[in-house]
Symmetry: C2
Subunit: 228 residues, 2 copies
DNA sequence: CCGTGTGAACCGCTTCACAGCG
DNA sequence: CGCTGTGAAGCGGTTCACACGG
């Protein structure tokens, strides 16, 4: 209910909104923090606390009105309008992202696609003509694009990000596995599935011991099916 | 450096390893926590503390040997061996994930691909024959697959995840935007780019005020170019 | 001396517990 | 009475600062 809302809270909001949308569609009109917490796998306290940063949306003894709370969160997150998006990189990843329509909904609309390869420039992709990455800065400025998606090879990612920043972009979703540098005023989210895999293995290595690797041989290492 | 290593620490390790690999390739043989922190955009203290959970890898006054530290982290994370991977869902997303080779490196190898659509079963994808999702449980068990990737539509994701869990899988990378349920013994990582976008907009909405949204009409809303 | 390893201080998020309102 | 909203306690991770080793 004060100014500095913790970052983690903001990042949980989309999940809340997502669930509320689902509940609304199913016809649920009202829900308590206990139930919402159960379905979201968090605690009721967490939910109440999170929401309290933005106002008082519930009625004591009654819980929250699903539709109303969804509207509030939509408002808080700045959604409910079509943010224009740009994407650079139309390799497999970029094409998949566009065609998969993972983000094209009411809140986002892809309005520009770039690539630097002459082979691709001029072709159409997802209803848009692929434009020369050299014109990125100008076009992004012209169209007032605030959010962009980077799907180029690692070696080019920082260059592309710099161009976006110069163009005034304020939020970047980066799929390239690099440690990107952006001004503090620019939001950056990293999508690096390989790192997710590499951290999960930490928890697995005891159950699935090495078959040889570092040096110490291990006769069998067949711990697998056991826990199943 | 005791037993319960914080989860966040584990999740930073892949980034450290990644950077060390890059440094090694460039020929850097030794690095201090200060420099490593600078390039990774963290603090030296953080790095030293993180590493201290696993042992003493540095030499005072000298910093860390890049190659050696990389080996240690590889060991800690349980990498340096080819973990077999399975993927379900060969729609645009699934195909892109496979063909993009985002995770196929020395540490991971895709060994099975599933789909439930008869149109796709039997076709080849990334050198593998797409198999009937109905056989998922059996095949995953047979091949001792511990990690899997879910790239099916939201409505099917939980079912698929349940099947994987029954098959004994211990780590799941899920691309479907759902609140997945898994036993605590199973690692789960969620890749939900849309939520990343939806949380970034929170920080943008003040700079790019609404053009209309929730109800209140707003004559123009052309605040765009200003901040650029 | 320089830089690591680390206990201790610090800070921020989470959880608790209860006052207050429907 | 039930459940929200919230100050305060609890807890875990980050940062500090310094002892110690090369």
């Amino acid at each position: 209910m004060k100014e500095p809302v913790p970052d983690v809270v903001i990042q949980r909001l989309p999940m809340y909104a997502h669930m509320l949308r689902a509940l609304k569609e199913v016809g649920v009109e009202s829900i308590g923090s206990r139930e919402l917490g159960a379905v979201l796998r968090t605690t009721p306290a967490q939910i109440r606390k999170d929401l309290s940063y933005f106002g008082k949306f519930g009625k004591q003894g009654m819980g929250y009105n699903v539709g109303q709370l969804l509207d509030e969160l939509t408002q808080v997150l700045g959604l409910g309008r079509p943010w224009p998006l740009a994407l650079v990189g139309t390799g497999r990843l970029g094409r998949a992202l566009i065609e998969h329509k993972g983000f094209v909904d009411d809140d986002f609309r892809m309005v520009a696609v770039f690539d630097k390869s002459p082979r691709r420039i001029g072709k159409k992709l997802g209803g848009l003509v692929i434009q020369d990455a050299a014109e990125l800065e100008q076009i992004v400025k012209e169209r007032g694009i605030a959010i962009c998606i980077v799907a180029v090879p690692p070696g080019e990612a920082q260059r592309v990000i710099d161009a976006f920043v110069r163009a005034g972009v304020k939020a970047i979703l980066n799929y390239a596995p690099i440690v990107a540098r952006v001004p503090k005023s620019v939001q950056l989210r990293q999508i690096t599935p390989l790192h997710s895999l590499q951290s999960m293995t930490y928890y697995l290595k005891s159950e699935y011991p090495t078959s040889g690797s570092a040096a110490k041989s291990r006769a069998d290492g067949k711990t697998r099916g056991s826990g199943v």
